[in-house]
Amino acid sequence: MTASHLAAGSRVKRRKRVDFAVQAGWVLASAIAVAVLAIVTGSVLVRGVPALNGDLFTRTPVTFGETGGGIAHAFVGSLVLVGIGAAMALPVGVLSAIYVSELADRRVARVVTISLDVLNGLPSIVIGIFLFALLVVGRGQNAFIGSLALAIIMLPLISRSTQEVLALVPSHLREGSLALGVSRWRTIVGVILPTTVSGILTATTLAVARAAGETAPLLFTTSLFGNDVSGDVGHALASVPVVIFTYSEAPDPHLNDEAWAAAFVLIVFVLVTSLLSRALLARSRRKLERG
């Protein structure tokens, strides 16, 4: 072998070594991300599960110094806040998606989608401050304002995913219906929407999972609440994330334990719903792509 052959051989070896090292770096990066997830969920599991008990869901906070009690008011409050928020965001999100995908001309559609993207990119604390300045100052907090904040956060999520599902509806369905002389609205309501119902539902579930864990927009709108279980949206209602937030900084270790238990419930809810809806979304997408 000549010297140049040897040099070429060592160069190839070096290239292979560099290649191996870089790919090992990719694997390591992925391993780090998975490890962080495992550590975070593991800590919540280890600290949250021992603090779980029936009282957490059925009882309200006790006065300082006593032991026991729970955060039933927060679970009920979260249910009310997120439920009303989703009920407001769902119709607006779906209708705006119909407008963008089916009715508007391109330039108008682009203005709307960009605005919704920017709305989605706004820090959630800014949404909270916005409603604080608009509705809370002078009047005081109430749960309806909190629901409104969650609705503003859910709206772009629902609209965007609905647009994506609508874009997957095969155009022959649309064209076939219109060619038969069926009017536009009947085509949309009777032909297109039914094929996207499961997609829209999963998109909504995903948005609900996101909203259920939002704290920042609730701090300024519905955080000064009492300890009773209530569904009255005219007053500030407790919520699971705000309770975790305040209990996490409480000096009482018993409250810290309750924060961990609530975090466990919240994380299980969020992860299960988002995993399930992601799987369903992928399935309905595949179905539409095949159809």
Binding site: K16, V18, V22, Q23, G25, W26, A29, S30, A33, V34, L37, I39, T41, V44, R47, V92, V94, L95, S96, V100, L103, V111, V112, I114, S115, L116, V118, L119, G121, L122, P123, S124, I125, V126, I129, F130, F132, A133, L155, P156, S183, R184, R186, A212, T215, A216, P241, I244, F245, S248, E249, A259, W260, A263, L266, I267, V270, L271, S274, L275
Partner: protein, 319 residues
């Protein structure tokens, strides 16, 4: 008129309901769509309006004035801008390379089964609520940083002022780590979409020339997606800047300019969140809203900037 020409009454009635239905759907959906646009406009207007008393009192110099004193009613944002800049930039510095590496692993290296599992695990990390991450930051990450990470950094880089001082549980460093954890999954999923859009002919051509995988990535994939990757990092940065809750929980809430990452500090968003119960005067409230206005402007710039970059470098138009 065509209605008169039609001999069939049900048909004409149907045409009428169709026309009403079309109009109703059009109006309702347009109202919903422009309602969304209007909300964005209203947010911008109301936040600017709410900040007006502070804008009138302090002017634009609020941005670089260093004070946050409710007693003397003197407010400025410099401390929090500094905290925001340092934490977000450092978080992107940590999370950016990790996110791109994860996206490369998922698109170029992992077999399909692994790709599905790891991909959804990374997305699950994005779904962890920030308040839970903050709780973990207070009780697990904070003590770890104080007892192990800070002393370790100190022993290696102790001469740099950035890594000097007493290790503490709450401070800039835990905030940076929490932010990095939060933006890795988002940046990775945007990057992954971009990488998946690289045409396979280009990749196969590069392999055909005898390049190794890394050489192919460096020569074909990265140049092809460069603009988009910058946009992905920008979006991650925007997310880090706006995160309030988890940062409030771990950063320690301190107005001032910390010279060491071990010291507590504050960011724009975390200062807002920390003040939710305690605004004492109108000017105080307006100053908090002013901080939110700065966040709003920044979020607007990063989002629109990312859109512009993505559009300019849209795959297919590049090269």
């Amino acid at each position: 008129m065509d209605v008169a020409a039609s001999p069939c009454a049900p048909a004409s009635r149907r045409r009428l309901t169709d026309r009403i239905g079309d109009l109703a759907l059009h109006v309702a959906s347009a109202a919903a769509a422009f309602g969304g646009v209007a909300v964005l406009g209203l947010v911008a207007y109301r936040v600017a309006y709410g900040a007006w008393p502070a804008i009138r009192t302090f002017g634009i110099s609020f941005v670089w004035h260093e004070a946050w004193n409710p007693v003397t009613s003197r407010f400025g944002a410099l401390d929090f801008l500094y905290g925001t800049a340092v934490t977000s930039f450092a978080a992107v510095l940590i999370a950016g390379p990790l996110a791109v590496a994860i996206a490369l692993f998922l698109t170029e290296l992992a077999p399909p089964a692994v790709r599905g599992v790891i991909g959804s695990l990374v997305e699950m990390l994005a779904a962890v609520p920030s308040v839970v991450l903050g709780l973990w930051g207070i009780f697990v990450l904070g003590p770890f940083v104080r007892d192990h990470f800070d002393p370790w950094l100190h022993s290696w880089f102790g001469r740099m002022p950035l890594f000097s001082g007493t290790p503490q549980q709450a401070g800039m460093l835990p905030a940076i780590l929490i932010l990095a954890i939060m933006i890795v999954p988002i940046t990775a999923s945007v990057a992954r979409e971009l990488l998946e859009a690289v045409p396979s002919e280009l990749k196969e051509g590069a392999y055909g020339l005898g390049l190794t995988r890394w050489e192919m990535v460096r020569g074909v994939v990265l140049p092809y997606t460069r603009g988009g990757l910058v946009a992905a990092l920008l979006l991650g940065m925007g997310r880090a800047v706006g995160e309030a809750i988890a940062v409030t929980q771990v950063i320690g809430g301190f107005a001032g300019i910390p010279t060491s990452l071990f010291q507590p500090g504050d960011t724009l968003a975390s200062r807002i969140a920390a003040q939710y119960q305690g605004a004492v005067s109108n000017l105080h409230v307006a100053s908090i809203v002013y901080l939110a206005l700065i966040l709003l402007v920044f979020a607007f710039l990063t989002n629109v900037g990312a859109q512009v970059i993505v559009r300019r470098f849209e795959p297919g138009k590049a090269g």
